[in-house]
Symmetry: C2
Amino acid sequence: MRVVKEANVRKSEILDAAELLFETKGFDGTSTTDILNEAGIARGTLYYHFKSKEDILDAIIERMTGSLVAKATEIAGKKDEPVLRRMTQMMLALHVDNGLGYEIMEQVHKPQNALMHQKMQERLLAGVNPIITALIGEGIAQGICQTDYPTEVAEMTFLYSSTIFDNLAIHSVEERERKITAFIYNLERLLGMERDSLQGAILPIFG
Amino acid sequence: MRVVKEANVRKSEILDAAELLFETKGFDGTSTTDILNEAGIARGTLYYHFKSKEDILDAIIERMTGSLVAKATEIAGKKDEPVLRRMTQMMLALHVDNGLGYEIMEQVHKPQNALMHQKMQERLLAGVNPIITALIGEGIAQGICQTDYPTEVAEMTFLYSSTIFDNLAIHSVEERERKITAFIYNLERLLGMERDSLQGAILPIFG
DNA sequence: CTTTATTATACCGACAGTCTGTCAGTATTA
DNA sequence: TAATACTGACAGACTGTCGGTATAATAAAG
């Protein structure tokens, strides 16, 4: 039996199915046949809409990161809120509950899904970095912080936190706390801020 | 015709063949059959010595990073040389000419080889981090630098530099120079050093 | 100290099972 | 009647397994 749908509808149905499977079985562990069955379509249909399995992955990542970047943009845009507050909210949005769910994050960090992880990280960095950089710029303008290289500070902290904190579940509680404190300590230094000036604002984020 | 060799000899022959192929065709682009042919052995032999293709990758990474870690250890151990000098030599050893050759590094950063990249990074970080941390510790003891979290500084800078600088060929010359200057700037801050105190020592490294 | 059994080690290649991507053709909608 | 969406059989490739075979190492017998 054949059901015809608009291309965009089918496409996102396929993405839904694939995302669900990637969450539970990982990227490499999910076969195109799995996706076919989950989406209830034939082989040809999949390849009518996507040119390869990796193409599906890219689309999913685009979808996932897109909403994160949108959220980050929105937070950064609230010019009435103080900069520091927006910075912490940004971190919150990007790391603690980043809307991707726990399972998928766990999957993303399995070695089998290195490709997925790398692609997400690259895409997220590209999208979010200008926003963070601008925010730091505001901070500098207001005399809250100071650095000659805001972009690189953003890069460095984003990369570090997305490598370390995403894996944080692995570490023990003490380890975890140390990492967080150290992160704040280092961020203060990179942003040329007084010691402990961020401490109070950020610490509550990481429950 | 059948040639019998000692297991270790065969094993490293297989690794040689695989490494060569991974360099030119990438990990995913190299089939086990390719390795078979290159090494001049039968299918069963490969799987007699290694339990999977990924197992081969792990062994290669172990071999490659092993020598890098050894070199880093050696440099760090030269207690008569000043700390700052050893730090720069370390960076040199780990990044500019890291003994892995240009082609393989280029391969490592292709998206197809994300797994390889991630594994190398993890393995290298684990091996090198304690050494760098100790070096920073020496620096602190001698009053050259100061931080409450040497391990995390080491982590952060190593991760950042291995993500950014390895991809540096991509960037333009100006971009490249900016990244390097920024890196030094940030490192100085993380290590609680005076501005430009590292500048003179490190800059010449990145030709 | 040879020669002959015996065991352990290294090796082989056919094969099963799975997977991705293609294509010629068919149904549905515009 | 043309464009769009869909189908499922199929080719080609790839990974890992397995029963069996040759070589080297060791032990037993002459």
